[in-house]
Amino acid sequence: MLGLIGRKLGMTQVFDERGVLTPVTVIKIEDNQVIDERNEEKNGYKAVVMGAVDKKASRASKPYAGQFKNGPPKSVLVEMRDFEGEYEVGGTLGASLFKDVTFVDITGTSKGKGFQGVMKRHGFSGGNKTHGSKFHRGLGATGMAATPSKVHKGTKMPGRMGADKKTVQNLRVVKVDEERQFLLVKGAVPGPRKGIVMVKKANKK
């Protein structure tokens, strides 16, 4: 697996040489530092621990800061399982990692929508607005009667929506800029602007 920590900067459009407009998301690759590695003998699996975005040393607890032997503590800390690329602990990785990658999966935290009803949250169809209807946006029945005489767990109901970890798969990489350390990826990416995202080489391509 290949992956880096990035920051969503926003969306725009780019023309290709044929004049076709493509909607793209600009993802800034943060200064990814390899903090540590996990190996078979000690941990039972192979992974690279990657950190990005500097954090004030005074704000980090001692056990947390103790992980960072080369430089200041980082606020984002991720393990990348079975890392394919070349790296050394303490070194940094940049956008050039995606030079030969055509498709990526992007994971981020989606925008929070607050407390929402079932129509928005679960796509229920709702009832008629008019024609004497008294059922508009409600959820209707939530279960059966005397048996089981309870509402089953997991029943779709109103509640908090958004702010979940979401992955969008198979987004085409339009451009990799090694000088300014950013990626252009076709399509939308979860999360708000300036949100932290994980960019990984596509799993299914």
Binding site: T12, Q13, L21, R180
Partner: protein
């Protein structure tokens, strides 16, 4: 947002929109037919401009065999070879959608007549 704007600025040609609403323009548009590429000219009145940044577009209207034809062009499209201003128009509105309802002589835009020093000042 700087980087997003930088990505957009890279694609923007300078002086691509050197025309105004109401001008009669010739748009030299590249058309790809299989392997060959040729330039087609679309001449008409600029009705409106919309959006900003790389997404900026304009509408050109012409009468073709008695039928009104409108085309939307992206200003910064690489397929636009160049835009030639044939005639300056004197208009008082930013969107000339009223022309769509007019027929014949009423559907025209007066020419913008300027003194020589005014043209010089505008830098054309």
């Amino acid at each position: 947002m700087d980087l997003v704007q930088a990505v957009e600025a890279e694609q923007m040609k300078e002086n691509a929109d050197n025309f105004r609403i109401g001008d009669t323009v010739k748009v030299h548009f590249k058309i790809v037919e299989g392997q060959t590429e040729r330039i087609q000219i679309f001449q008409g009145i600029v009705l409106s401009m919309k959006n900003t940044g790389v997404r900026k577009t304009f509408i050109v209207r012409k009468m073709s065999y008695g039928v009104g034809v409108e085309r939307v062009f992206p200003v910064y499209s690489p397929r636009i070879d160049r835009i030639e201003v044939v005639r300056r128009g004197r208009v008082r509105r930013a969107k000339l959608y009223y022309l769509r309802k007019r027929v014949g002589k009423a559907a025209k835009v007066n020419e913008l007549i300027r003194r020589r020093d005014q043209i010089k000042k505008a830098g054309e």
